[in-house]
Subunit: 78 residues, 2 copies
């Protein structure tokens, strides 16, 4: 079974860079990457916040949050 990696983003340039170079780059043999656009999927904001996401882009893998550079604060997407 693959490990789920959730990539939270907002479509911003910083997010796109992280998406192309990190999220898309994860080993597909090991990871199943889910892409969540928090600007469009507002109902996912709560789950992101509970997972510990403070800003986008961020990857959540195995319950750990990895904030990658800084695109936008989560509060700006509410």
């Amino acid at each position: 079974m693959k490990i789920e990696a959730k990539f939270y983003h907002a479509g911003c340039p910083v997010c796109q860079d992280a998406e192309k170079n990190i999220a898309d780059a994860l080993d597909p043999k090991i990871f199943e990457v889910k892409y969540i656009h928090l600007g469009e999927e507002k109902n996912a904001l709560d789950a992101a916040e509970k997972a510990g996401v403070k800003s986008v882009p961020a990857l959540v893998i195995g319950g750990k949050v990895f904030h990658i550079n800084f695109g936008a604060d989560l509060s700006a997407l509410k």
Copy 2:
């Protein structure tokens, strides 16, 4: 030919988390990951700084810097 990804770290817990979950997780078919411990390889500090690394852990892929969470400022490793 594989794409080079440089993972700069300092052996700190935040660095180790990023190493295990992000750097080690990159698709080995596409990337050749080099691990650079800036606490031990002081002569690599200049190159890291020139690449735009401000803190560790950070991944440099294709000339772009991805700071992943925050472990230590580069200046603290000098």
